[in-house]
């Protein structure tokens, strides 16, 4: 009984994050739904063997692996934004705290970054999403992705550099958004 309660509690806390991560990695809502479902069913099967403090990293690691597996199966390196683009346009996030101009700029920036992320290798995308979107520390990213800490730091540096390059190339007009030079 406690197991069911704990699992349900964990599910309610993490399902949106897992779904978001899968969505941004796969850029396809249906695939993200499938992965989310599969990951949580897997977690239920292994619930007793996963230590409580390791549940967060476990679920992210499995989600990441499932996403990579799915991407490899589909073998479509240039994934197009499909249904996720609508979500970005609909602006689910509340941006009431910033001015309309800033909101416009910020929204443009988000779209630009999301589109530019697609040009990065999967591992770099994972690092960026985990660190900047999920707020995961480098040490934990290393654990999730099965890399060394120094490799994660180097990867993050390269990812940022590549992202900057892609942004400069695709969206030169966005350089300087938010009074900050991206170049």
């Amino acid at each position: 009984m406690m197991k069911r309660y704990a699992y349900r509690h964990f599910l309610s806390q993490t399902q949106d994050r897992v779904f978001s991560y899968a969505s941004y990695m796969l850029r396809n809502r249906e695939d993200a739904e499938d992965v989310t479902q599969e990951v949580f069913v897997k977690m239920w099967k292994h619930w007793d063997t996963i230590r409580k403090e390791k549940r967060d990293s476990w679920i992210l690691r499995v989600t990441h692996n499932e996403c990579i597996d799915l991407l490899r199966r589909k073998s479509s390196p240039q994934r197009a934004w499909t249904t996720l683009d609508d979500a970005v346009n609909n602006r689910i996030v509340a941006l009431s705290s910033i001015s309309p101009e800033q909101e416009l700029e910020s929204g443009e920036m988000q779209k630009a970054i999301l589109a530019s992320l697609a040009g990065l290798p999967d591992k770099m995308q994972s690092m960026m999403l985990l660190h900047y979107y999920q707020g995961v520390r480098f040490e934990e990213i290393a654990e999730i992705l099965g890399m060394s800490l120094s490799a994660v730091k180097t990867g993050m540096h390269r990812a940022r550099k590549q992202l900057r390059g892609v942004l400069e190339k695709r969206y030169p007009e966005l350089a300087g958004v938010g009074n900050v030079q991206m170049v």
Partner: protein, 178 residues
């Protein structure tokens, strides 16, 4: 809620928004560089990305496949599984024992003769007589050797001059007695 998944945290990536105090602790960004500002922009931009909500249908499906899974089939699965495991182990042991018996069984053992040997009464009496005589003889030898040992022990404990005198007088006594 886990710190990891707390996207409402003012700075989910753990980077302070203001100017850092003390030495630079950022392992990637050098202190005071433009990249620090770039880091801030990235952090804020990613943080403002839409928080996608997991569809209710997916949640329902997860719950159906996990905690709401019907247990009618698996209710006694543990007991059955345990019994099955024990039965398998017992069967394995039984088969091993059977094979061992078939290999090492030596065949029908020869009948043991349990009849005690018969002794004649004359032989028994003679043996008894011999035993009595041998015991008497042994007793005599023991007595003799005991006296001799005591005598020698007493003599050895005496001073030498007295011992010599005693050695000379004892034969006289013994001769006198005899």
């Amino acid at each position: 809620m886990s710190r990891w998944f707390d996207n409402t945290h003012p700075d989910p990536a753990g980077h302070p928004e203001g100017k850092r105090k003390g030495r630079n602790r950022d392992p990637v960004m050098p202190a005071g560089s433009d990249e620090r500002q770039e880091e801030r922009v990235l952090t804020e931009t990613f943080r403002l990305l839409p928080k996608l909500k997991c569809p209710d249908g997916v949640t329902e499906e997860i719950l159906r496949l996990t905690i709401r899974q019907k247990r009618s089939v698996k209710r006694f699965s543990f007991v059955v599984g345990l019994a099955d495991w024990r039965l398998r182990a017992a069967a394995a042991v039984a088969v091993a024992a059977l094979i061992a018996v078939l290999i090492f069984y030596p065949g029908k053992p020869e009948p043991v003769i349990s009849v005690s040997p018969q002794v004649a009464e004359v032989d028994a009496e003679r043996a008894s007589e011999q035993l009595k005589w041998s015991l008497m003889y042994t007793s005599q030898l023991l007595n003799k050797s005991e006296k001799q040992a005591i005598g020698e022990a007493v003599i050895n404990k005496l001073p030498e001059t007295f011992r010599n005198t005693l050695k000379k007088t004892i034969p006289l006594f013994q001769g006198g007695e005899s």
